[in-house]
Amino acid sequence: MTVTDAQVTALRAVLTGDGETFDRLGGESGQDYGEEIGILTATAFGTAARHRFPGQWSMPDLIRFVGQVRARDQGEYADINASAAEQMLRAALSDEPMRGEFDEAANAYAQAVILAELVSDLDAQQLDAFLAEARVQANRHLAAHARS
């Protein structure tokens, strides 16, 4: 299994708020995006988190960042599960498992919004390069798991 072009395009659509493309691709494939997009998103999330918080970081840094995202645009994203978002960032930066139990939908929503914020300073070209790199890493991960 490898990440497909459609899966990369779907993640790109999520990160740029292009709901139309995301829905169209889902309709064309006639199914959900499969587990590969989960691996691709997680890989992208880890890379983006390390880019945003290089070197030393602390939980207060992560708490402030998540708070800023949730408070932005008059609290449009206040319904993100803050604990899930904070723990997801901590896990990505420390290479440790996520602490706490959160439902899948809360995790996916927090991951998508936080990742979108993490890459929001990239222009279109940089975003394409970032996703291409995440795809390579996700494929390595998938290949390693297929062998084991």
Binding site: M59, R64, Q68, R70, A71, Q74, G75, A78, S83
Partner: protein
């Protein structure tokens, strides 16, 4: 000696020590509270917290303002950030301002932790003076007494 008044005074003393950042006294007095004083303490903590939250956010706070305040408080006091979740703290503040249903399923310990941490943050946000702390605690004591009289009659 009126036992309730004594419990009220002791409860106020615990909260005063917390707000004065005299943590040794706070821990000592808190540990000495017995069962009846613990009940009073929970009521006074609740009224002090509600009063402080109302003063800070008014009647129509924006969700964004509360989210920002809580994130800043949890980030500023690292132990608070670990012990009190954003959800618990935000829900306690919103409940104090009228959205009671948000804490329907919250357990007592989490409520107490969130109220204590956010009361501390609310009072220290803009360097509240000792006189203002006194006024806050006087109001909280009056409201706690009124609440207890109402519940006794009910």
């Amino acid at each position: 000696v009126n036992v309730e008044t004594t419990d009220l005074d002791r409860s106020i003393a615990v909260i005063r020590a917390l707000l004065a950042e005299d943590f040794d006294t706070y821990r000592h007095l808190n540990a000495e509270l017995g069962a009846s004083a613990n009940k009073m303490f929970a009521v006074v903590l609740g009224t002090a917290f509600t009063e402080a939250a109302s003063r800070r956010f008014g009647n129509e706070p924006s969700i964004a303002e509360i989210v920002e305040f809580v994130a800043d408080a949890r980030a500023s006091y690292s132990r608070t950030g670990e012990q009190v979740t954003a959800e618990d703290a935000e829900h306690m503040i919103r409940a104090a301002l009228g959205e009671d249903h948000l804490i329907d399923t919250m357990d007592g310990r989490a409520m107490g932790a969130a109220q204590t941490a956010m009361l501390f943050a609310l009072v220290h946000e803009n360097g509240t003076s000792p006189d203002e702390v006194d006024r806050l605690l006087t109001t909280a004591a009056e409201q706690a007494e009124a609440y207890l009289h109402r519940t006794e009659r009910g």
